[in-house]
């Protein structure tokens, strides 16, 4: 463990040290607080952050991810099943990435108001793409020889889908989900900047207007923890559902 992650940990320690040092030299804690200052402020704010603001951000992230998974996987399956659907949607899904989705966020605040749904929509918009495209590519990646072998054994289209295509798609789906999970934290935070009454992103931005640098950083620490935790959960789910992969 130490051997594997040791170098990375050293770099992180070094960077934090450097930050602490530079921050103390500049000595403008309200705009450039040192890590120690952030830690102290985090401790002071822990109840507000964890009990008031974390739940609303977490709700946006989880709802957004859930909707993205349902919609993305359904669309991917549909595109695999029907060539017409593939021709109709695949180019749209790809080119939708040319639109700066984040820049559209204000429109969604206008449409859906200051409640949770405007933020959920932003989260869905940016997590939908990696899930859909990865699942679709995964379903398509199944080996032709294996599908043909299933046919020679009398397998139906349904058998091939569930016994060959779905298992082949799993690793791709999980890679998509890992990307989506990190993006979902960004989506939720940005959504909250633009219009919200609670949430870690909202809190961070409100503290900016008050020139409380350490309190701007404190919720970001928590957002990072959320992102890392979600990522690890996906990783655990991945290795649990694909035991065979560890053997390689």
């Amino acid at each position: 463990m130490m051997k594997k992650y040791g170098p990375a940990a050293l770099i992180v320690l070094f960077l934090f040290g450097l930050w602490e040092l530079v921050s103390r030299i500049i000595n403008l804690p309200f705009i450039f607080p040192p890590p120690s200052g952030v830690a102290v402020r985090f401790w002071e704010l822990k109840e507000t952050l964890v009990l008031d603001h974390l739940p609303s951000t977490l709700a946006i992230i989880l709802l957004g991810l859930a909707i993205s998974i349902v919609l993305g996987v359904s669309l991917a399956v549909w595109m695999v099943m029907s060539e017409t659907a593939e021709r109709a949607f695949y180019p749209l899904v790809i080119s939708s990435q040319m639109i700066p989705t984040i820049a559209l966020a204000p429109i969604f605040i206008m449409f859906f108001g200051y409640g949770i749904w405007s933020k959920v929509v932003v989260t869905v918009l940016i997590t939908f793409f990696p899930i859909t495209v990865n699942t679709f590519d995964g379903l398509k990646s199944s080996s032709r020889e294996l599908r043909e072998l299933m046919l020679t054994m009398g397998g139906t289209k349904k058998d091939i889908f569930f016994k060959v295509q779905v298992p082949s798609a799993k690793p791709h789906f999980f890679s998509g989900l890992k990307v989506a999970v990190t993006l979902s934290v960004i989506g939720a935070a940005i959504g909250e900047w633009l219009g919200a009454q609670s949430g870690l992103g909202y809190f961070s931005r409100r503290m900016m207007t008050q020139f409380d640098g350490a309190a701007v950083f404190a919720p970001i620490v928590l957002l990072s923890v959320v992102g890392i935790a979600l990522f690890l959960i996906v990783k655990i789910m991945e290795s649990k559902s694909m035991k065979w992969r560890k053997l390689k």
Binding site: T152, M153, G155, K163
Partner: protein, 254 residues
């Protein structure tokens, strides 16, 4: 003569738009025969298997399996491909059980049916291992077991041992002959290895220039059971030279 289990009658076939591979082609294979088809790579010998398994449809003529010319030949033969094509996400037991699963057999029943077979195939103890944990020879055994479990009397083996090392290949060949006799199956075997063809088969068909009308047939002059020593018989050695010449395109068998 035993009854014919596989017949090609006047079969013509070409991949769409390309030069024909079979032209009014004839072939008859009898029950419990071991027949090998040899030919250079790319000669179209795998196309024969694609037609028999129903992955391709003949353009003209009829293909009969066990005396019947059926519409869909899917699920009527046991096919063992060149690469083992085991599913990496399934254990040995789950991989071999695929044909039983497709036939709708209950899991418990399938396990009961397979347990003695796994032992007989030298696979006991590996039931819950994944293919990546097995050697090449073992994987081919699982693949062969899977083709046996289709329950079909006709087995199609497409260069199944070509990826194995020489020693493993020899023992797999002996093992295959043993299984073939025990299970009373008809085997069609594709290879480009003349030695392998001579050691295994009753008859050898040489797949040469397309379009093919009929294959040149060679009857192997060896008794069964066979040993590797019998391969040094002068008649076999002479036949081997002729086959090699023919595969190189200087055929004199005609």
């Amino acid at each position: 003569m035993r009854e014919a289990v596989l017949e090609f009658r006047d079969v013509s076939f070409s991949y769409s738009g390309k030069k024909p591979i079979l032209d009014q082609f004839h072939l008859t294979v009898h029950d419990r025969e071991f027949v090998t088809i040899i030919g250079a790579s790319g000669s179209g010998k795998s196309t024969l298997f694609r037609l028999i398994t129903g992955l391709e449809q003949e353009e003209a003529g009829t293909i009969r399996l066990n005396g019947e010319a059926v519409q869909s030949r899917h699920g009527r033969t046991g096919y063992m491909p060149q690469q083992d094509l085991l599913m990496p996400w399934r254990t040995v037991l789950q991989n071999a059980a695929v044909p039983l699963e497709l036939a709708g057999m209950k899991k418990k029943e399938a396990v009961e049916k397979m347990t003695p077979l796994l032992t007989e195939f030298g696979l006991s103890g590996t039931e819950h291992k994944y293919p990546s944990e097995l050697s090449g020879g073992m994987r081919q055994r699982v693949s062969f077991l899977r083709s046996i479990l289709t329950g079909s009397n006709i087995l199609l083996l497409d260069e199944p041992f070509s990826a194995l090392d020489a020693i493993t290949r020899l023992s797999m060949q002996e093992w295959l002959l043993d299984q073939w006799e025990k299970r009373e199956k008809t085997i069609l075997f594709i290879t480009h290895d003349v030695n392998e063809a001579l050691f295994l088969s009753d008859r050898i068909f040489v797949f040469q220039d397309t379009p093919v009308q009929s294959l040149q047939e060679v009857v192997v002059p060896l008794e069964r059971p066979r040993t590797l020593r019998a391969m040094n018989d002068p008649a076999v050695l002479e036949m081997k030279d002729r086959l090699i010449d023919q595969l190189r395109g200087r055929g004199t068998v005609r």
